[in-house]
Symmetry: C2
Subunit: 457 residues, 2 copies
C-alpha cells in the first residue's frame, strides 16, 4: 500500500515537473520569437559602434555611451534607469605609435605596433636598443640581468592552436602581456614588445592591459602584429643582430569620474532579491568594441526588453548593468560590489556576456553545487536554441567581484573560434557581428534569467 | 555462480570498452593536433577561391578545379587519384542582367538582380510587364489565370527568422525559387522575380537553381535582393501600379564533359568496403564558392591527409570525392552511384560537408537504427571538439543517391547562422571562412571516418 502511495506521489511529482517544463518551453519559445523577429540589440549595437565608436574609460565617447545606453534601457522598458558614479583611470594612447627593426646593415623594417593599455610612454624621442626574444618566463629568468639589461625584450608567446577553446590559449599566452613588462624590467630591460594575442596570422597589433608591478621600473610596452612577430623570430633565429626602435607617447592621467549604467525591472514578489545581467560598456580605443563588449551590453538590454515585450512580470528584481572600465581597471565592477554591500543588497544571481556576440554554445557556472544541480535540471530547455554546454568555470570580470557576497554567477559561452581574430584590434567592428548570432545569445541569456527568476537559485 | 560469471564478463566487457574509448580518444586528439597545427585545408581553399574562383559546371574554372584538387589529393597522400567522367549541363548567365521597377509617373527604380540558375533568357530586348506580389502558392492559385496572365510574378517568400536552424527556413521559402517559375507559368505569367534566400536584409541577389516543369512554358526567372523585395512589397501595399523590366541573356547550352575527382587510400583489411567523404567542386558563378562548397572539398581532402599524416592505416578503403554539378543538375552524384552499381562496389558509409565551413555542431544521420545506435556510442568522443548534436536527418545532395544501394549516410552540421548571409551570392568569398572553424569541421569529419573505418557500421 505504501509502495502504491509512493508510486502515485512520484507520478504526480513527475507530471507536475513535466507540466512546468512544458510551460517554460512555451515561454522560452515566446522569448525567442520576440528577439529573433523584433530584436533591438542589433540596431543598438550599430549605434554604439558607428555613432559613438571606441569607448575607452575616461574618454568623451565612453560618456556618450553612458547616455546612449541609459536611453536604450528606458526604451527597453526598464522601470528605473540610474547611474552609479565611479572614478576610472584615464589612460591615453597619445600620438600614433611607431617602431621598426634595424638590421646590422642599416635596413629598417617597419612594425605594426601599438602601446599596451596602461603602458608608460617612451618619451618623444623613442627608445632604441638591441632586441632579444624569449618564449617563456623561465627562459627570461635563465638569461637574467647579464643578458637582458639594456635590451628590449620580445615576448613571443604563441597562442596554442591545438586548444579547442581559444580562451585557453589566451589565458596561457596572455601572461606575457599582463605581467611581461614588469618581469622584464626586473632584469633591467628598457622596453618590451609582445606578440599580439591573435589566433591567426594578421597585420594588426592587438592591444590590452598590462599591469605594472610597483617594485620595478615602469618600462614602455607595445604589442606587435603576429606577422611581425613571425618575421622577427625568424630573423633572430638566423643570428641576426637586430635593434628595435619604439616610440609611444602614452600617459596615465589622473582618474576621472564615470559611471555604471543600471536599468531595473522591480520584482513583484521578492523585490529585494537581485538578478544582474550585464556586459561592459568601455572598449579599447583602436576599434568599435563590437564583439568586446558592445555585444554583451546590447544583449543585456535586450534581456530586459524581451521580458517586458512578452509580458513577463518578474518575481525578483532584474537589473541590466553596463559596467564601466573592465578593460583597464575594473573600477565599475568594484563599485557595483561596494554599493551592493553598502546598501545591504541581496544578489542571488549574476550573468555576464563578455566573450563576443557569436553563436551561444553554453554557460559556464561559478556557483555552489546545489545551484549547479538546479540549473542542470533546465538544461534540455536550451537544446533547441543550440546551447548544450553547462560546465563549471569563471563567469565574467564585471560580475566576478559579487562572488565575495555569495552570489551565484554564470557566463555566456559563445563560440570562441573567431573571437581572437578581432579582439582588442582595429578589426573589432560592427560588421563582424552576425545579427542572428547576437540574437541567439540574447535568447539564451533571457531564458536563463527567466528560469532563475521564476524558480530562484 | 552464474551470476558471478556474468558479473565478471560484464566487468571485462566494460573495461575493454573503456580502454577502447581511451585509445580512440588519444587517436582523435592526434588527428585534431595535426589538423589544427599543420592543416592544409585553408591554403587549399585559398587556392580554389583566389586562384581559380567561380566554378560553375561546364566552365573553364570548373575544369581547373578538377586538375587542382586532383593534385591536392595526391599531395595529401592518396594512394590513387582518378577522375570519373560525366556529362554536365552547361548553363551560362550571359551578359550582366538588368532590371528596374517603373512607377506610374515614369520614375525608374533599379533592381539588384540576377538570373536564377537554369533560367531561360528574356531575349536581348528584355520583358516589361505589370508586377504582382504573391506570398504563397495558395495565393497564386487563388488569383489564377484571370489575374496572373501577362504579368511578372514577384514571389516574396521571407525566410522565417524564428527558425533556429536557417536551413529550415531555406527549405520552406526556397520553394518559390525551385518551383515558382513553372507554377507562375501555369497561370500565364511572363516572368518571375523571387525574393533572394538571405537570412538578413542585404543588397545582393542570391542565385540558385530553378527547375522547370516541362508541362509549362519556360519563363525567365530572376532573384532580387532582400532590400529590393522589401521596397517593392511596401510600394505594392500602397496600391502603386508598378511595371517591372527584366533582361537576362542566360542560355542552356548542350551538355559538356566534366569529372568527379576521387582520391583513395586502400584499406588493408577490407579493401572492398568503401567509405566516402566528400563535398562538391562546382559552385555558382557569382562568387568564389568558399562556403558553398569549397569548404567541404578541402575538408574532405584534409581527412585523407590527416589519416596519412598521423599514421592511420585504414582497414577499409577511404575515398575523398569532389563531386561535380551539385548546384544545377546533380550529374556527378548520379554518376558516382551509377559507377558504384556498375562495379558492384560495397559502400558502407558516406559523409558529406555541404553546409558551410563554420564551426561544426553535429552530424545528421540518415541510416538504419542499429547504425545510429553504434554512432551514438561514440558521441562523447566528440564533445571535446564541440560536436554534441547527433540526430536523424538528411546527409547531402551528392552522397544522397547512395541510399539506393543501402549506404549509411551522414552530413556535417556546421553552425548555420551565417550561411545564408553569403549563400549563392557574390559575398561567398574566402574571407568569410575562419581557418579555425574550417579545421574543426575537418577534425570532426576525420574522427567520424576514423571510427567508422575502425569499427565498421
Amino acid at each position: 500500500m505504501i509502495q502504491k502511495i509512493i508510486q502515485v506521489v512520484f507520478a504526480g511529482l513527475f507530471s507536475l515537473g513535466a507540466l512546468a517544463q512544458k510551460d517554460d518551453s512555451v515561454s522560452i519559445r515566446k522569448i525567442a520569437d520576440e528577439v529573433l523577429i523584433n530584436g533591438k540589440a542589433y540596431d543598438n549595437l550599430r549605434y554604439l559602434c558607428k555613432k559613438i565608436g571606441p569607448r575607452l574609460s575616461g574618454s568623451l565617447q565612453a560618456q556618450k555611451a553612458v547616455e546612449a545606453t541609459a536611453k536604450m534601457l528606458k526604451d527597453a522598458g526598464a522601470d528605473t534607469v540610474y547611474l552609479q558614479p565611479c572614478m576610472v583611470p584615464h589612460w591615453t594612447r597619445g600620438e600614433k605609435e611607431s617602431g621598426f627593426i634595424k638590421l646590422a646593415n642599416g635596413t629598417k623594417y617597419n612594425l605594426d605596433l601599438c602601446a599596451l593599455g596602461n603602458s608608460e610612454g617612451t618619451g618623444k624621442k623613442g627608445i632604441i636598443a638591441p632586441v632579444i626574444e624569449v618564449k617563456s618566463f623561465a627562459e627570461l629568468e635563465q638569461l637574467g640581468e647579464a643578458v637582458i639589461k639594456g635590451k628590449i625584450v620580445f615576448f613571443n608567446f604563441i597562442m596554442n592552436p591545438a586548444y579547442i577553446t581559444t580562451f585557453s590559449a589566451y589565458g596561457q599566452s596572455g601572461l606575457a602581456r599582463r605581467a611581461g613588462p614588469s618581469k622584464a624590467a626586473q632584469y633591467g630591460a628598457v622596453g618590451v614588445m609582445v606578440r599580439s594575442l591573435a589566433s591567426n596570422p594578421d597585420d594588426f597589433p592587438h592591444t590590452g592591459a598590462t599591469q605594472y608591478n610597483d617594485s620595478f621600473p615602469k618600462i614602455p610596452a607595445v604589442a606587435i602584429s603576429t606577422n611581425n612577430a613571425e618575421w622577427l623570430s625568424t630573423a633572430l633565429k638566423r643570428k641576426m643582430l637586430l635593434t628595435a626602435f619604439i616610440r609611444n607617447t602614452s600617459t596615465m592621467l589622473p582618474d576621472v569620474p564615470s559611471f555604471n549604467v543600471v536599468g531595473e525591472i522591480k520584482g513583484n514578489e521578492f523585490p529585494g532579491q537581485i538578478i544582474t545581467v550585464g556586459g561592459h560598456l568601455d572598449s579599447w580605443d583602436l576599434a568599435e568594441g563590437a564583439q568586446d563588449d558592445g555585444a554583451g551590453c546590447v544583449q543585456s538590454i535586450e534581456v530586459l526588453r524581451v521580458l517586458k515585450a512578452t509580458g513577463v512580470q518578474p518575481k525578483r528584481t532584474i537589473r541590466a548593468v553596463m559596467f564601466m572600465n573592465e578593460e583597464n581597471g575594473g573600477r565599475g565592477a568594484q563599485k557595483y560590489l561596494d554599493l551592493a554591500r553598502l546598501n545591504n543588497e541581496k544578489h542571488i544571481f549574476g550573468l555576464e556576456s563578455d566573450a563576443g556576440g557569436f553563436t551561444p554554445r553554453g554557460f559556464s557556472l561559478d556557483m555552489k553545487s546545489d545551484a549547479i544541480a538546479k540549473i542542470l535540471q533546465w538544461k534540455s530547455l536550451f537544446y533547441e536554441y543550440g546551447v548544450y554546454d553547462f560546465s563549471p568555470g569563471g563567469s565574467g570580470a564585471d560580475i566576478g567581484p559579487l562572488k565575495a557576497i555569495g552570489t551565484a554567477l554564470a557566463g555566456l559561452k559563445p563560440d570562441s573560434q573567431r573571437y581572437f581574430d578581432v579582439h582588442h584590434a582595429a578589426t573589432d567592428v560592427f560588421e563582424t557581428v552576425s545579427r542572428r548570432e547576437l540574437y541567439l545569445g540574447a535568447v539564451n541569456m533571457a531564458a536563463l534569467i527567466y528560469l532563475v527568476d521564476k524558480y530562484g537559485l
